[in-house]
């Protein structure tokens, strides 16, 4: 009798303490590609999430509770994502998932999100039309990124466009949208060519480009190596056409040196945005990470803002209850480095898009700003 009472008491204390630990902090799960294709950019995403959490905790947390990051490697692919999502949702019992991932990883994780009923804020730009009641997106889709580029090139006199991409869902999706947009605005596509993601020899495609009579080039390769390889070979072959790259980020542009000069990029974030919020953000990042700082970019800044958007939603809902949070996620907004963000359109966000041009020194100069570009009909059912 006594022993069982004792056991019951111990069990009760343990339950209470574990319940207390769960109450104590709000856990944010971050499945991200620390290895694999996303490994180059993932550290910058983790850094910006860390800064957001540190800032929020220093200011008293959310509803008096501290935020805690739980990071899991999804290996940039579907198999790794299943493990990462499973462990975060069912073992670590996180309150929310906020992450930048490949489309393959996101698609693999979504059924687990539905089963575990947690809110999921996706912070990577992607090919669009991923719809799930638990999923919100605060980054761009083709409808937001492509038109500024094409409009700018057309205004500059370009009529005949040549498209080059890597042969995968994102590369083809972006260029298919670019093709339809160019044709709808009276332009002409004089060539569209793809190379496998691990392909490194663009010789034949470049010769076709030079023979095509195109007066502008739009590319959408996989990030990192294919991007650099294509640009080096283009420059080596003397191609100096106006050149918009849908898949290059500032960091990669810097690594390409003089070869990248003149390239147009379209993004919802560039470090050169002249706003007090952006300057404060960049200074805070520098102060926190010093020499280890990864340059903030169009994938890491949406991650930072998503943490704040989640904070606003929890505060408005008054709890971390999934349904309550999902109900208000499209009503709250946050003004961050990219400006005012609200995921108000079918779980997606109207965004201000910046058209940048890479300079000789690798920096990106903003040559055009497009206010609150609408994401279009992404998820009419939601």
């Amino acid at each position: 009798m006594k022993i069982s009472t004792l056991l019951a008491t111990v069990a009760g204390v343990m339950l209470a303490s574990s319940a207390f630990a769960a109450e104590d902090s709000i856990r944010i799960g971050v499945p991200v590609g620390l290895s694999g294709a996303n490994s180059v950019v993932a550290p910058s995403v983790v850094q910006s999430a860390e800064l957001a959490v540190e800032e929020i905790n220093a200011a008293g947390g959310v509803l008096g509770r501290q935020l805690e990051l739980v990071i899991a490697d999804d290996a940039s692919g579907a198999a790794g994502a299943q493990k990462a999502f499973d462990s975060l949702v069912f073992q670590k019992e996180v309150d929310v998932l906020i992450s930048m991932e490949t489309s393959a990883a996101r698609n693999a994780g979504l059924p687990i999100v539905s089963r575990g009923q947690v809110p999921y804020i996706y912070t990577s730009f992607y090919e669009g039309r991923s719809c799930n009641p638990n999923l919100f997106v605060d980054a761009w889709v083709p409808e937001q990124q492509v038109p500024p580029v094409v409009d700018y090139l057309s205004a500059d006199g370009a009529k005949k466009f040549f498209l080059i991409g890597s042969d995968y869902a994102f590369g083809r999706g972006m260029l298919e949208f670019a093709r339809s947009y160019v044709e709808s605005t009276g332009g002409e596509i004089v060539g569209e060519e793809y190379l496998p993601m691990d392909g490194s020899d663009w010789t034949a495609i470049i010769s076709k480009l030079k023979a095509s009579g195109a007066d502008a080039l739009i590319t959408s390769t996989a990030g990192g190596a294919p991007n650099v390889t294509l640009t080096k070979q283009l420059r080596g072959s003397g191609v100096e056409l106006p050149y918009a790259n849908l898949a290059v980020d500032e960091g990669t542009a810097k690594n390409m040196g003089a070869d990248a000069a003149g390239i147009l990029i379209s993004a919802s974030y560039v470090t050169g945005i002249e706003s007090t919020e952006n300057k404060a953000f960049l200074e805070a990042m520098k102060a926190k990470f010093g020499d280890d700082l990864r340059t903030p970019n169009d994938l890491s800044v949406p991650q930072y803002e998503a943490v704040y958007l989640y904070k606003a939603a929890v505060e408005k809902a008054g709890s971390t209850d999934t349904k309550a949070v999902l109900d208000v996620l499209d009503e709250v907004s946050y003004t961050g480095p990219r400006g005012r963000i609200q995921m108000s359109k079918q779980h997606h966000a109207p965004l201000t898009m910046y058209l940048g041009q890479v300079q000789e020194d690798g920096s990106v100069k903003v040559v055009g700003t497009f206010k609150d570009v609408d994401p279009g009909e992404q998820c009419p059912e939601l």
Partner: protein, 311 residues
């Protein structure tokens, strides 16, 4: 805004109608001129030759497939990164890479490859593993990011009416130098004579007093040195990152399997397969072009197990 520079000089564009002709008249799906196509073929063959030469040197004499080949290409390319980081002339990366590749190759031969000459399959496994280790060491030291290297040569040159990449023309010359240099080494020097003796009959060569283990060491070092040199020569064409060599490994392996131990056969294989790759990429699809070398090599080996080696 950049000026579309290729709207003026190249000959195929001179034939274009004036700038104010409506877009309807523009010819769609125009193909590159025959001259451009020819240059694409010979320069692609040259690059394939440069990349495979080191692998062939090792396979031809030692009958060992060095699956760390891709890693040595990467090591060479990072020698270019280091040269740039030290602020030296980018051309100095060539000798630096040759020496680095040869020294590391010497260490590898003594420690890893030497016990495995009689077990070529185990040697494939060991060198494959070594390649992974080298890739990880490079990642630890330099990070996963794409590295910046200064271009060896930039700009274009007019060749028989075509406005063509100067560097690719240079690659053609480099391939010729490597091929002829190796031919001289094999045919015109004592080392080459000994190496050929080993290829033909190793027990006999040893019985005649040749120090076969030293010749193997030197051959392996030359092979890895050449491969690292090829890595530098690739930097103006590809991104420099820890996995850059992998993309070239399978292609070179296939070419060497077809070529056997002869540099002449390798040159022919590069021309035929590189040519097929360019033609398929140009007229059918670049995606199919990417697998042309592998498919053709498999076909050739199916028909004749010696491949082009009898040439």
């Amino acid at each position: 805004m950049l000026i579309p520079a290729n709207s003026a000089p190249s000959s195929e564009l001179k034939a274009r109608p004036g700038p104010f002709v409506p877009a309807v008249i523009s010819i769609r799906n125009r193909e590159p001129t025959a001259m451009t196509l020819l240059l694409d073929i010979v320069t692609t063959a040259a690059i394939l030759f440069i990349v495979s030469a080191g692998l062939l040197a090792i396979f031809g004499v030692l009958e060992i497939v060095n699956f760390a080949h891709g890693a040595w290409l990467t090591v060479g390319a990072y020698c270019a990164v280091v040269t740039g980081g030290l602020g030296l002339n980018p051309w100095l990366a060539l000798p630096l890479a040759f020496v680095t590749g040869a020294v590391l190759g010497g260490v590898t031969e003594r420690l890893i490859v030497r016990p495995l000459y009689a077990r070529p399959l185990d040697a494939i496994l060991a060198t494959w593993g070594l390649g992974i280790v080298i890739g990880q060491l490079i990642t630890l030291w330099f990070g996963r990011d794409v590295q910046f290297t200064e271009n060896l040569l930039s700009g274009t040159i007019h060749v028989f009416g075509a406005n063509y990449s100067l560097y690719r023309i240079f690659a053609l010359a480099a391939a010729a130098v490597i091929g002829l240099g190796f031919a001289f080494l094999m045919e015109g020097t004592r080392l080459g004579l000994s190496a050929r003796a080993i290829i033909m009959n190793e027990p006999l060569a040893r019985a005649l007093g040749l120090d076969t283990s030293k010749i193997r060491l030197v051959t392996f070092m030359i092979g890895t040195g050449l491969t690292a040199l090829a890595g530098v020569l690739l930097t103006p064409l590809t991104s420099v990152d820890p996995t850059m060599g992998v993309a070239w490994l399978i292609g070179s392996f296939m070419l060497v399997m077809v070529a056997g131990s002869s540099f002449g056969a390798l040159a022919i294989a590069c021309l035929v397969f590189g040519g097929a790759q360019v033609l398929v990429s140009t007229f059918i699809s670049p995606i199919l072009g990417g697998i042309t070398v592998a498919v053709l090599s498999a076909l050739v080996l199916r028909i004749s197990s010696k491949g082009f080696a009898r040439v």
